[in-house]
């Protein structure tokens, strides 16, 4: 299992950030996520694998300075 914004979600092998977001509603706004405290931005979503037991937060729309 992984935790996404405090909700439990089934983990699957070869899960990437991009594949996870495809399963979530209203995630098109999401350009940055935090996985176990570390930031990952959208250019890295397709290549970044998610490990089992990860704690993930979807950051809101990046608002700049």
């Amino acid at each position: 299992m992984i935790e996404v914004d405090e909700k439990q979600i089934e983990w699957s092998e070869n899960m990437t950030i991009a594949s996870l977001l495809e399963t979530l509603d209203n995630s098109e706004f999401c350009s940055v996520v935090r996985i176990n405290g570390k930031l990952f931005s959208s250019p890295l979503f397709a290549e970044t694998m998610i490990s089992d037991n990860s704690k993930i937060q979807l950051l809101p729309l990046v608002a700049g300075g």
């Binding site: 914004d5 930031l39 608002a63």
Partner: protein, 712 residues
């Protein structure tokens, strides 16, 4: 440092105008030619139209300067205001000051928004806004004492030169037993010797028992302040509660304050963690999206950026409450204690560094090829202490470094210094020279626009190349985002009234990452709504960060998530609760629109404010050089083929650069047309008569300026 000497030269007692519904309805004018201290009422019609904050500042300035006024003329006026909502303890971001003057860099009005306690203390002392004009012939300190109800002017001797020590000395001098009652505005030697001097606004950090400060950075207001020989303006006031601002509906104010603060306390730890890392989280995010300025905005990312972002500063920042206003839940004003500079007058001493924020890390770090957290801290410390804007310093030095590497300037011009990217010791030496007004640093301190002229005329540098790479517009240096792939943000910078600062519009992700605004009409709408709403914070004395840097969990379900509509509603409730003026979300936009258009016409009055001044250097639009093109070759090749239907198979790299440039520059002009139309401006970028009438700013003097510029 010997005993400081303050000689009182003028003192008045006044009957304090109590705050009513967020306003004192009085302004304070200090004229330094005559040392007159004048208290004036603020008429209801001005209050209705200009709201407060930047609106009041601009109105007072408008009446004090003429179209020929230069930044160093006595008529130039430094205005400092709060706003009707400013000084609400506990409301996130509720304590900002807004400062304006005619800028040494742009020749037009500049505004800057800053934390610290000065704005609220000044208001609670009886004045919505203060204006400082004229010029003193001796160093002067101004005291607004809202406890004793006196205003005093002092000639001063033997004060510390730099803001770091001066803020501390004056805080303790004016209330040794309760330093929390004092806030000090200071500049510094860098402000005196450059055109991009900033102002430091202090507050007493009760937890650390020391003076802290934030900066009104942009456009050289500190330079104007120093040129008037003002060493400091001090406000003194006692305890503050929600009742101090005399809200119309205290119960409603408490309710909306509690709701917004609670949300931030709950969600900031899950979102950007600004209470822990400030804005340094933006460094890795911008780097990964190719938007972090590297080597004078040539590139948008660098592998070494990981050592100058939140991962590092989180561990360096001193732990403790870091709100720049009382009870702010965002509390993002972090700093580093016991830092020991390795250069300059504080070498080897232990100091507290207020910062760095994202802009300083990007401008004075990656943009200069300096990937060293300690050097960035040292640049941050000295810029603040000397009264220098870190954004203009970073962007100007980036320009210098590229000119140096490109052989436009050489060691013969720099006083023997190698100013290649990454030259951290020489970058610091330039900053020390700026403070002393010496050497090559004194040229850099004039800003990019003037450097371009000097380098071309005196050093034989290539003017066209420098025009392309010099990251300034309207004379102001760019803040720290790469805009090449976001046409909307090119407009966000180029069409900003004061010059390329991101506080009007930050649309990069909406445009570039999410493609939420694919058409020119979409972009124009965004370049109307966002600048108008963001202007509202400056009218009211607020910080914008709590609006859209921490957002409700259900915001993603809203059809327009970027507007953070729930928060806009809370701000309308906040305004209603304090002022008693029943206000809905749309009213916030109309309040701002009047002031925004007035500022545009103020630019016009000063000889600017037309289409030709809304240009940006090509570096902000696309790749200037083949090196830049090749760094993103696939992206650019694909655009030429797919977006512009060009056959590039036989093109040289130089031809591709030229073709892309032609297309992108055409698009920028089309964007201008669309934005001007949406804003109700002529195609020359001037508000129409219909627009000023609709907004109720059709004052005779406004119509006269329009008429002089062919609009009637």
């Amino acid at each position: 440092m010997g005993q400081i000497h303050l000689k009182e030269i003028k003192s008045i007692s006044y009957e304090k105008s109590e705050v009513k519904k967020g306003y004192t309805d009085q302004s304070l004018r200090i004229n330094l030619d005559s040392n007159d201290i004048i208290i004036n009422p603020i008429e209801d019609k001005i209050k209705d139209k200009f709201i407060g904050g930047k609106g009041y500042d601009l109105w007072l300035m408008w009446n004090n300067v003429n179209g020929d006024t230069k930044w160093n003329d006595p008529e130039n006026t430094v205005c400092i205001s709060s706003g009707p909502l400013g000084g609400t303890p506990g409301y996130p971001g509720g304590g900002k000051s807004i400062v304006t003057a005619i800028s040494p860099l742009t020749g037009a009005p500049i505004d800057s928004n800053v934390g610290g306690y000065f704005g609220p203390y000044k208001k609670f002392s009886g004045f919505d806004v203060i204006q400082i004009d004229g010029k003193s012939n001796k160093d002067i300190v101004i005291l607004i004492d809202g406890i004793e109800n006196t205003i005093k002017l002092f000639n001063v001797k033997n004060l510390p030169e730099d803001s770091y020590e001066l803020s501390d000395v004056l805080t303790r001098h004016f209330d040794e037993t309760k330093p929390v009652n004092v806030s000090v505005v200071t500049a510094g030697p860098g402000a005196e010797h450059t055109y991009f001097g900033c102002l430091n606004f202090s507050w007493w950090d009760a937890g650390r028992k020391m003076v802290r400060y934030k900066q009104a950075g942009r456009g050289g207001i500190g330079t104007v302040f120093a040129n008037k020989k003002v060493k400091a303006v001090v406000a003194r006031y006692g305890a503050v509660s929600m009742k101090t601002n005399s809200p119309a509906d205290l119960t409603a104010l408490k309710a909306v304050t509690k709701t917004h603060a609670k949300e931030i306390h709950t969600l900031d730890p899950k979102q950007n963690r600004m209470a822990v890392v400030g804005t340094t989280h933006l460094v890795p995010i911008m780097n990964d999206h190719d938007c972090l300025p590297v080597h004078n905005f040539k590139f948008g990312s660098h592998p070494e950026s990981k050592v100058i972002g939140e991962e590092v500063y989180e561990h360096i920042f001193d732990k403790g409450f870091d709100g720049c206003w009382k009870g702010c839940a965002v509390a993002c004003a972090h700093g580093v204690k016991d830092f020991s500079p390795f250069t300059g007058p504080y070498r080897g001493k232990k100091v507290f560094v207020d910062g760095p924020e994202y802009e300083t890390v990007a401008g004075c770090g990656s943009n200069l090829g300096i990937f060293d957290a300690q050097t960035i801290l040292e640049i941050n410390f000295y810029c603040d202490a000397y009264g220098l804007d870190t954004i203009s310093v970073g962007t100007s030095l980036g320009f210098v470094m590229e000119c140096f590497e490109n052989h436009q300037i050489t060691i013969d011009h720099t006083g023997g210094m190698d100013l290649s990217f990454g030259s951290r010791f020489n970058a610091l030496e330039i900053i020390h020279q700026m403070a002393r007004g010496e050497g090559f640093g004194s040229i850099v301190g004039k800003g990019i626009r003037k450097m371009k002229a000097i380098f071309a005329k005196d050093f034989g540098a290539n003017a066209a190349f420098m025009q392309d790479i010099g990251m300034e517009s309207k004379g102001l240096e760019f803040s720290e985002y790469i805009t090449k792939e976001s046409l909307a943000q090119q407009g966000g910078y180029g069409l900003a009234l004061k010059g390329p600062q991101h506080d009007e519009a930050w649309l990069i992700f909406l445009d570039m990452v999410h493609n939420f605004m694919p058409t020119f009409a979409n972009k124009a709408e965004a370049l109307h709504w966002f600048p108008m709403f963001r202007t509202w914070f400056a009218l009211c004395g607020l910080c914008k960060l709590p609006w859209n840097d921490i957002v409700p969990e259900d915001n993603k379900n809203n059809p327009e998530p970027a507007k953070v509509v729930k928060h806009v509603g809370w701000y309308a409730d906040f305004f209603s609760a304090v002022t008693g003026r029943k206000t809905g979300p749309e009213d916030l936009i109309s309040m701002s629109e009047a002031v925004y258009n007035f500022q545009r016409i103020f630019n016009l009055k000063m000889g600017y404010g037309t289409r030709e001044h809304d240009t940006v250097p090509y570096r902000a639009v696309g790749p200037v050089t083949v090196e830049e093109y090749k760094s993103r070759q696939k992206r650019y090749d694909d655009q030429l083929i797919e977006k512009y239907n060009l056959d590039i198979s036989d093109m040289t790299s130089e031809e591709k650069v030229a073709s892309l440039r032609q297309k992108r520059e055409e698009q920028y002009e089309v964007l201008k047309d669309a934005v001007y139309e949406r804003r109700g401006w002529t195609q020359n970028g001037i508000p129409t008569i219909e627009t000023v009438k609709r907004l109720g700013i059709d004052f005779p003097e406004v119509l006269e300026v329009l008429k002089k510029n062919g609009v009637e």
